[in-house]
Symmetry: C2
Subunit: 215 residues, 2 copies
DNA sequence: TTCGACCATAGAACGCCGTTCGAGGTTGAC
DNA sequence: GTCAACCTCGAACGGCGTTCTATGGTCGAA
């Protein structure tokens, strides 16, 4: 079981979601596909268990982070840790928190985030929404990040700048009066860093939260 | 072409992403699969064009909304319109904004949102991040919504309350000292409304944005 | 030592998928 | 009548998730 999950995570790391097939996994393990079905009842469960396996590492990292006197700063640090983990493993964003029954580490991480909100002056409902909003920002940011890697980049045939530049070029060629906003931000887009973009979104949410908590 | 996209959207509406296959689409159109490949070079393009087709309706609705004197309120209204559209068609969240070359309506919608930020006192970079953050909240919220419909609900064999209640039950059975947060919010979860959750996340982001714009 | 219960393995087979391909029809300009 | 350009079709290919059946291996009971 442990070996199956480790191999599954390795396959996902090497070539992303589509690369994880029962046949490839069986080949890597030197067994037949039927054997994998002995441990796991279908592909969804395999993905959930592999995801939880990987999230275990994130959870361990998060649990090492000591509490400061600012819960919102702690929330931010945890969100950043999670984001960085998903950047390393973009496939995580697609499956994270999909099934908390099978993903007990994800649930623990959720609890870990939520506990910080207990230190804020909020209603239970506000706490519930706040944690969900933060997770949404992390997963949403990282998901977008995974999408924009269309194989050429992964193969190394094209640099990231060239890829973004091509988009920027077509955007620049749009009519300036019809697309004033796109024209204004096209340079930001061309040189943008995903992490900055994530942090900006996160900080907007956290600023709103701080306001709500009156802290 | 038009007929292909209309039929594709109809299939997606009826049974979600997995239901859109070239064979099913060909059958519905009364043609062969090869014919569809004449109009569209592969499935990704089909999905992008179908998505843009559907987003066209959202764009039309958004363009009808008149500007108020509060750009952030206008941003909020547009985001809500987009969210409601994705609630009606959950499959949209997976493909929206994936390729702005093929999704010209999506690009126009992006411009429409961005133009509101031109009325705010922000740097171009802040505008860029703000729009992206808002889209992230919308798509992220709606995506989560699509995930949590695991067929039983779609088939009508189980009510939504029952479904959420089952999750709530397992959460409640967790150790209370180990999971104080989960215990506190389990009731919120059991009765939660996705739209409220989305609005809460959106309003956190918009509150942060308002702070940033000094408005 | 033999036997059966049970855990575990293996891989052929099924049906569905995206995609390719070559063989056609239809149309209108010359 | 000819010839391109446009469009249609469905068999065929390889890969996927999943199922099923047959077979090893292990180990306590007899």
């Amino acid at each position: 079981m442990e070996a199956v999950l480790t191999a599954a995570v390795a396959l996902l790391d090497e070539a992303g979601g589509p690369a994880l097939t029962f046949r490839a996994l069986a080949a890597r393990l030197g067994t037949g596909v039927g054997t994998i079905y002995w441990y796991v009842s279908n592909k969804d469960e395999l993905l959930d268990r592999a995801t939880d396996h990987a999230i275990g590492g994130v959870l361990a990292a998060v649990e090492k982070q000591p509490d400061s006197d600012d819960p919102i700063a702690d929330l931010r640090a945890m969100a950043v840790t999670l984001f960085d983990a998903i950047v390393d493993r973009p496939w995580l964003s697609a499956y994270f928190m999909r099934n908390t029954d099978l993903q007990s580490n994800s649930l623990r991480l959720y609890e870990k985030l939520g506990r910080q909100t207990l230190r804020l002056d909020l209603t239970p409902r506000q706490r519930f929404h706040a944690v969900w909003a933060i997770i949404g920002v992390v997963v949403g940011s990282a998901a977008d990040l995974g999408v924009e890697i269309p194989q050429e980049l992964l193969d190394g045939h094209m640099g990231r700048d060239e890829y973004l530049g091509r988009f920027a070029e077509t955007w620049r060629s749009l009519d300036a009066t019809e697309f004033p906003y796109v024209h204004q931000i096209v340079d930001e887009f061309a040189g943008h860093d995903d992490r900055d973009q994530f942090l900006a979104a996160l900080d907007l949410t956290l600023a709103g939260l701080r306001l709500q908590a009156g802290a």
